[in-house]
């Protein structure tokens, strides 16, 4: 199908974009790799698309002291090729390999993915596992939101109407920290059936599952468990996965346990 008609603006400055987005019927357009399909299928019909891809303030990936700051407009392809990400946020470097297909990776952005909050997307889980912070801006000013406070439900986030994600800050990985990523999908690049972004540092573990609930979730009981068997048992308290077209809740929980086992061993092996 074809998109309904809409007006289009491409502002050069963040303030200008935020002013345009404060109108009720406006929507931000980043890579368009989720928004344009929804327009083509007429699932969404904004009156004004504000193309944010010209905003310099939302670009770039760089190490700033102890965080890697990734601009909202960084594409999946840029993240995949970033030395700072490979070196300081290896979990994300692993995860990006699973995000969509090459032609989509060239345009889709991390800001778009986080704002969309698809329950089966990779980045929200990475942001939870690494305790990342989102920098968001609105006409009222800027604020910082912890990833743990950001994902509110199915395609729902803490963004207020008209707000934009400016950047996301991932703590640079320290020597004694380890991470591991695992995903099951029907075909390479598809959204996950179930996936896991895992983090460990002396005594603390964080297991962020995706494709297993209405949003990415931290499995808190499993993270407290003493050994792998106990963690696998505890996972039933953390996850009650909804069925999808092909998998029952029981299958999904089983697959989540398989991923827990795969990453558990990697978290206990030194890098």
């Amino acid at each position: 199908m074809k998109a309904p008609s809409f007006a289009y603006a491409k502002p050069r400055a963040l303030e200008e974009a935020l002013a345009l987005l404060s109108r009720a019927e406006a929507k931000a357009l980043a890579g368009g790799q989720s928004l344009i399909p929804s327009l083509n299928m007429r699932l969404s019909a904004p009156e004004l698309l504000v193309d944010i891809t010209g905003l310099e303030a939302l670009k770039g990936i760089r190490l700033e002291q102890d965080v890697v700051r990734i601009g909202a407009l960084a594409t999946h392809a840029e993240i995949e090729r970033s030395e700072a990400v490979a070196k300081h946020v290896p979990l994300l470097a692993e995860a990006v390999q699973h995000v969509a297909h090459p032609a989509i990776r060239n345009r889709g952005t991390i800001g778009g993915s986080l704002a969309l909050a698809d329950p089966a997307a990779e980045y929200p889980a990475c942001a939870l596992a690494l305790d990342a912070t989102l920098v968001v801006a609105g006409t009222e000013g800027r604020r910082q939101v912890k990833a743990t406070e950001f994902f509110k439900g199915l395609f729902e986030t803490a963004l207020r109407p008209g707000e934009l994600i400016v950047a996301v800050e991932f703590p640079a990985q320290l020597k004694d920290q380890r991470t591991a990523f695992a995903e099951l999908a029907r075909r390479h690049g598809d959204y996950a059936i179930v996936g896991l972004a895992a983090f460990a540092a002396n005594g603390t573990k964080r297991f962020a599952f995706f494709g297993a609930a209405d949003r990415a979730v931290l499995a808190r009981h499993a993270a407290q468990a003493k050994d792998l068997e106990a963690a696998k048992q505890a996972l039933a308290k953390d996850l009650q996965p909804p069925a999808d077209l092909y998998h029952s809740p029981a299958t999904k929980l089983h697959l989540a346990r398989v991923l827990l086992e795969r990453t558990w061993n990697r978290l206990s092996t030194p890098r």
Partner: protein
């Protein structure tokens, strides 16, 4: 009322200026306004890859980019890349290995394959499969396509 914007881009090396409705996607613009019907339209939501074109050197989904977003960009299509000879070896190998039947997916497959070989001249079968994972073929069963790309890897 429908908004249209003056848009200037180069298509296969030639500068083009047109007034384009905001909602028109790039592949429809190429096909309907410029008559470049080599890029195909399948699903229109990013899944099949039939609409693959190059923008500023990178492959993209022609159905997931607005034509007005290509303002100032260099767009290349299967027509331009065939004429320049850039795809000649791949095209020959696709022909020899029977890597197409109806041909609907072929322009997109060739662009995806060329993109891989530009970055990695010696990919293995798994890497070839991963790189064309976003392109559907409903006829060949993929084996012959992977064989054809492998042929170019092996014999240049």
């Amino acid at each position: 009322m429908e908004q249209a914007l003056d848009t200037t881009l180069t298509v296969n090396g030639q500068s083009v200026t047109r007034r384009i409705p905001a909602r028109m996607n790039l592949v429809d613009f190429l096909r309907e306004e410029l008559g470049l019907t080599g890029s195909h339209v399948g699903c229109e939501h990013g899944v099949c890859g039939a609409c693959t074109v190059r923008v500023n050197g990178e492959i993209v989904r022609g159905c997931l980019m607005l034509a007005v977003q290509a303002d100032g960009c260099a767009v290349e299509t299967i027509e331009g890349l065939s004429d320049s000879g850039e795809l000649a070896k791949l095209q020959k190998a696709f022909h020899e290995k029977n890597a197409l039947q109806c041909g609907f997916c072929t322009p997109g497959m060739l662009l995806a394959a060329r993109d891989l070989l530009k970055r990695n001249p010696k990919p293995d079968r798994e890497q070839i499969r991963a790189h064309i994972s976003g392109n559907y073929c409903r006829c060949t069963g993929y084996q012959a396509i992977v064989d054809a790309i492998e042929e170019v890897v092996a014999h240049g």
